[in-house]
Symmetry: C2
Subunit: 343 residues, 2 copies
DNA sequence: GCCGGTGATGTGTACGTTCACATCGTTGGG
DNA sequence: CCCAACGATGTGAACGTACACATCACCGGC
């Protein structure tokens, strides 16, 4: 009766813990703990015995217990929108890989709308998991408001922003990218240039718009009000059909490649040729852009690099390092066949 | 000295726990616990007091502690590959939303290659988090092998498979989808039809290939060896350039929309018109497909529906329900302008 | 030959929660 | 009018780990 170890009872299978490992290895549980956290003061011989016991039992450290006692969840939260698009998806993938290598997990929460309530609910869900850091890939303007409300206390980073909030953002120089695209069109002789922008509460949409307007301003060209879209090919198509009825422009800079695709579709339907009649530039360089009809001139962003650097910065901040260099990732103009010199 | 409550010391901010809440509400910690788990036996009045205390303190339940004692992580693991593509990305998003609503978290692990070692490492990483269930969106043939090795003991579901492994897979009837696409081409009078397949270790690639071959067989048409690709537009393009040199076929059924896009690019470069000279069908119906040149005839899969049903099935299994109906999601042929009657 | 120091290992405790069980007051039936 | 039953609430323990500290053997220097 007093011996709980009698093995006659099948007794609900329980995962082995460090005490089980310790018993098998003939050491104390604390020694096992040391082995797991590669403490310097443990004899190689002892370490080997513990390791053998671990393998024998198929022991896995219990993350929950570990998180409880250290009060470190080893989880990074990601607040995301539009993850189906190439840019966010690629960044998240790179972030996940880098985080995993650093021993962190990712917890991704998608927000369905950019309603304030939806954003707040998403943040709430993440905070409930006691995330150690936050990455925002979403309409950031509104997210910032929600962050203030929640008085959140973890380091956070936003992707693909403007550098306005340098303390917390790691960014591709979107303004520069937009300037490259616009300059390219100007160099080709275009003076009447249109811009199909992303939604205004996305900082990157705002940045691309800024870059476009500044470059136009620097060249003393007429600036027109950009059209605010929603990043989708459908929008590019319908906006294109509408705009092309007037056709008082010869080039279009689109806020992303999807909208450019839709726009070129509208051109075909309107009987216009790209690039002979209209030049089109995109943004992102999705892998498909090289195979559009015609292959799309666009601005390449190294999303994978962004993802890696995001984690790098964040981990540094978690370690207490400060004043890290948040140098912007530089975008690159990829010239293909959707742009041509003005006839 | 004996009073630890004296507030003079700033004393490291610690998040409030149920005991703090209990003290403020004037009840025992167990009553707070009951309030949190909406136990039936608690007076509405008491519940209100507890709720007020929770709000006052900004208390959040500690998930780690909860997971430790219940040994339920409330985490579902996702082993994924190619998450940048529309299908997987859409499914994951739907899965995340459905999981969140059910109170579960998602832990996504991307595998970089389909090497056995990479898959095993990914699974290991997931198991280390004591996931309660597993969802596989990856080259499943190899994953199955790894699963056996790890003697994994959680319910799992694979997406988009063939129904071969009915106990564990929730699936779109890919074979049926492929048959629809192939039949469409046959109905248009094509007899020499090519197939650009996905990688062979992806079950959905295999299934689409099967559907293609069977439909051809049923129509007593010559079957040709499908070309094994990698899902990318680049592959579709280069394969197209190669295949079109002989041009001993009049129609192509592509394993996904990206490859179809690349293939149509190759057609243009080879001076062939789609659909006049060559008919092309894709698979997936990515949102951009409607704006390809020409708009692509393809097979629509309801990825969001798949995601929702996946969680539904998995949660049922976690609750111990069995024999759930795993009815396949039916795909739908979307006819656009990339296919035409054989001249 | 004793003692301080050090390297290796062991013991007690806390983290925040839920579960099993105990307790208490109230109600209703015989 | 008493006691069983029940509803509401409280107490003790356990989950598995890491941290702080205690212990122990051993070493070298005086």
């Amino acid at each position: 009766m007093s011996n709980p170890e009698q093995a006659s009872e099948p007794e609900r299978v329980r995962a082995p813990n460090i005490r089980d490992v310790a018993r098998v290895a003939g050491v104390s549980y604390q020694t096992v703990s040391r082995a797991l956290n590669d403490s310097p003061s443990i004899r190689p011989e002892t370490l080997a015995r513990v390791q053998a016991a671990i393998d024998e039992l198929g022991y896995r450290p219990n993350q929950a217990a570990r998180a409880l006692v250290t009060s470190r969840s080893r989880t990074i939260g990601v607040l995301a929108a539009q993850t189906v698009h190439y840019g966010p998806a690629t960044s998240i993938q790179a972030i996940e890989t880098a985080a995993r290598e650093a021993g962190y997990r990712l917890s991704i929460t998608n927000i369905s709308s950019s309603e304030y309530a939806s954003i707040k609910a998403g943040l709430d869900h993440l905070m409930a998991q006691s995330i150690e850091a936050l990455i925002v890939i979403a309409p950031q303007v509104r997210v910032f408001e929600a962050l203030k409300d929640l008085q959140l206390s973890v380091p956070f980073v936003t992707l693909e922003a403007t550098g306005l909030n340098t303390a917390h953002s790691l960014w591709v120089d979107q303004i520069q990218g937009a300037r490259l695209a616009t300059r390219h069109l100007i160099d080709l002789g275009h003076t009447e240039i249109m811009h199909l922008s992303g939604p205004q509460d996305w900082i990157e949409a705002e940045a691309r718009m800024q870059g476009f307007l500044r470059e136009l301003g620097d060249a003393d060209l007429r600036t027109r009000a950009p059209i605010l879209g929603d990043w989708t090919a459908h929008f590019g198509y319908y906006a294109g059909l509408e705009l092309l009825r007037y056709r008082d422009f010869t080039a279009v800079f689109c806020g992303n490649d999807q909208m450019a695709l839709g726009f070129m579709h509208a051109c075909r339907e309107s009987g216009l040729r790209v690039p002979e009649d209209i030049s089109v530039v995109g943004f992102d360089d999705v892998p498909e852009a090289a195979h559009f009809a015609p292959p799309l001139t666009t601005v390449r962003q190294n999303f994978a690099e962004i993802g890696r650097r995001t984690i790098e910065v964040l981990l540094g901040e978690l370690r207490g390092e400060t004043g890290l260099s948040h140098e912007p990732v530089q975008p690159e103009l990829i010239v293909r066949q959707s742009t041509a010199r003005l006839a």
